[in-house]
């Protein structure tokens, strides 16, 4: 099964409703919250959905019925390994540990785990990491 990451945008009126929990109960898919923030005007969550096919469609429509805007997250970070010096400055700041150094210290990026927070883009001293 392939995991899919979704960005869920809640409008102000819907932030207080347990929409995610209801979706989990209804679809029985163990949705994992990777990142969540609430601002005065909206709420935003990045979730990992371990489902595909009809099950995935069911999850998406469950959110949409409750007026949550659903966007699929596709990989948008690019590591330019020609520029990269394998220094490691991006590794420990990553909040989800999706950047690792191999035995020979070269960088390994796990885009499935990435939540695109962008902290590594700023942390890279030689600008080898960029949003696509």
């Amino acid at each position: 099964m392939t995991d899919l990451k979704l960005k869920l945008v809640y409008r102000h009126e819907t932030t207080s409703k347990p929409i995610l929990s209801e979706t989990v109960l209804k679809t029985r898919i163990p949705i994992n919250i990777l990142d969540a923030k609430v601002t005065p005007s909206a709420g935003e969550m990045i979730v990992d959905v371990p489902a595909s096919g009809d099950k995935l469609k069911e999850v998406i429509s469950s959110f949409q019925v409750s007026a949550v805007i659903v966007k699929e997250i596709t990989p948008t970070l690019e590591f330019d390994l020609d520029k990269c010096t394998s220094c490691g400055a991006c590794v420990s700041p990553c909040p989800v540990q999706c950047i690792k150094q191999k035995k020979d210290w070269t960088i390994e990026f796990d885009e499935v785990k990435c939540v695109q927070c962008g902290i590594c883009v700023d942390a890279c001293p030689v600008k080898a990491i960029a949003f696509l």
């Binding site: 010096t85 394998s86 220094c87 490691g88 400055a89 991006c90 590794v91 420990s92 700041p93 909040p95 540990q97 150094q101 020979d104 210290w105 070269t106 902290i119 700023d122 942390a123 001293p125 030689v126 600008k127």
Partner: protein
């Protein structure tokens, strides 16, 4: 009697160079030597191995280059000059300049600096040169704008006043916000650890008594041959914070080993590749060259404290740092380097090859780098105002039992915006602002406890004004209570108080 520092009791430079010329010198990288000593024992290792090569590739702010542009027609005595909008130091001869690694572009700021210009010069790219002058009888021209490449320059000499720190502090962050430092990005609440330096490959650590490194030591610098020209600034060898000053021909260097860099929120710098051959001239040198990561210790320092004297949380070895996990306050925290160990290895390997090929001979220094130097701080002898000089000492505070109306009355009566809330012993437990009260009234709330901010940002009366104003802007607040050691409120300091200081 103890052997003299730098004694060549195991082998002389001449003997080593004779072997290099014959092609039978035994050279190992420092990493290989550590392993060789473990497997063959110290006695055999120091008898068999002639030279140990080291390497490091890290951000070295103490770097820059002297450039000579040649004379234009009509000639100019450049008074100020810029390379790709990065200012270079012009307090020297007419068409000489010193371009420092941390100088920043006047148009692109943090994204581009002296380090980047140096890299582009080694890439043989065109660089814009702009200069201004006041005009003299001998140098009539008053301005010039042209482009140059490194091949147009008469000299391009890398002269780095402080390179290759023997080791460096590891960094972490106790505060509740992300810090952007020269030690990289530090996550809040001890969220990660960063470190710098190559540990068991570190050039200066491998001769930590400074018995072979001195003026005239031939080294690998930026991909070419360079030389040590003395101790570096802030050299403090007795604490294993030794540094060196180096020079080399920039025209021969390679961009791979000389890279412009930016530390987000901090500024620009230059990553420099340095490798030093350590000749095993005596037993002590062989001993230090064999020190493994497990025995190279540094301090884990809290960069959340914006002071010269940042507290050390614990000692940590490079072996633990390189494992990627460091325990901080009983929590396992991710650690990662800022300097490239991969490149450090490569540099030690390249230097080893140069020596094995016979193209790189070792040089006996004319004078060794000192193995003791006191490092003194900069004292501020002019009095600088502290919080106690600007704060309001009259304490107006509310108790938690007050209702909103009496709190509002206090604010109005005293014409203030911030109201600390204290317990019976005058200890701080919260704060409300006039805005909080307005909002509470709008939302129909009644009690102070519902409204107040419990996590209060505070100041101490001895805090420097610069630190406090930075804190105010970081948290986007306009005032904070001043508290003593027991968290008792002793006053208030606001942006108005600080503004008055500058109006005087």
């Amino acid at each position: 009697m103890a052997e003299q520092v730098g004694a060549e009791s195991l082998r002389s430079y001449e003997a080593i160079n004779a072997k290099i010329k014959k092609g039978n010198a035994v050279v190992l990288t420092a990493e290989e030597f550590v392993g060789y000593v473990e497997s063959h024992g110290m006695k055999a290792a120091m008898r068999e191995v002639d030279v140990v090569t080291t390497g490091t590739f890290g951000a070295m702010c103490g770097s820059g280059a002297f450039l000579n542009f040649g004379h234009s027609e009509p000639p100019i005595k450049m008074f100020r000059c810029w390379l790709n909008d990065v200012p270079a130091y012009k307090g020297i001869a007419a068409v000489d300049a010193y371009l420092g690694a941390t100088a920043m572009s006047e148009t692109r700021g943090f994204d581009y600096g002296g380090g980047h210009v140096i890299q582009e010069l080694t890439e043989r790219k065109e660089v814009e040169l702009r200069a201004e002058a006041y005009g003299t009888d001998c140098y009539p021209r008053k301005s010039i704008e042209t482009t140059i490449t490194i091949d147009d320059l008469n000299q391009a000499i890398l002269v780095n006043p402080r390179n290759a720190y023997e080791r460096y502090n590891a960094a972490t962050n106790s505060t509740d916000r992300v810090l952007y430092t020269y030690m990289g990005t530090l996550l809040p609440n001890f969220g990660n650890v960063t470190y710098s330096g190559a540990g068991q490959l570190s050039p200066l650590y491998k001769d930590k008594s400074f018995e072979t490194i001195g003026i005239g030591t031939r080294i690998f610098l930026g991909g070419a041959v360079g030389y040590v020209i003395g101790e570096g600034t802030q050299h403090c060898p007795q604490n294993q914070f030794g540094t060196i000053m180096v020079r080399g021909d920039l025209k021969k260097m390679k961009p791979k080993y000389l890279q412009g860099a930016t530390f987000h929120g901090y500024g620009t710098t230059l990553y420099v590749g340095v490798g030093i051959p350590i000749p095993l001239i005596n037993e002590r040198v062989a001993e230090t060259a064999s020190v493994p990561d497990e025995k190279i210790v540094t301090d884990l320092v809290d960069y959340g404290v914006p002071s010269r004297n940042r507290p050390s949380l614990r000692k940590v070895t490079y072996a633990e740092l390189k494992s990627g996990k460091v325990s901080v306050n009983d929590k396992s925290v991710n650690a990662s380097p800022l300097s490239s160990y991969k490149y450090a290895r490569e540099i030690a390997e390249v230097l080893k090859q140069w020596i094995q090929e016979g193209s790189f001979l070792l040089s006996r220094p004319a004078e060794l780098v000192p193995n003791y130097r006191e490092v003194k701080p900069l004292e501020t002898r002019k009095y600088e105002p502290r919080v106690r000089d600007v704060m309001t000492s009259k304490i107006i505070a509310a108790k938690i039992s007050y209702d909103l109306k009496s709190a509002a009355n206090l604010l109005v009566e005293h014409n203030i915006d911030h109201l600390p809330i204290t317990d019976e012993e005058n200890r701080l437990i919260g704060i409300v602002t006039s805005w909080d009260i307005a909002k509470a009234v709008a939302e129909g709330k009644k009690n102070l406890s519902e409204v107040m901010t419990k996590k209060v940002i505070t100041a101490r009366e001895g805090d420097a004004i610069d630190i406090v104003s930075r804190r105010l802007s970081q948290y986007n607040i306009s005032g904070m209570p001043v508290v003593d050691d027991g968290n008792h409120v002793i006053g208030m300091v606001t942006t108005d108080d600080i503004a008055k200081l500058f109006k005087r």
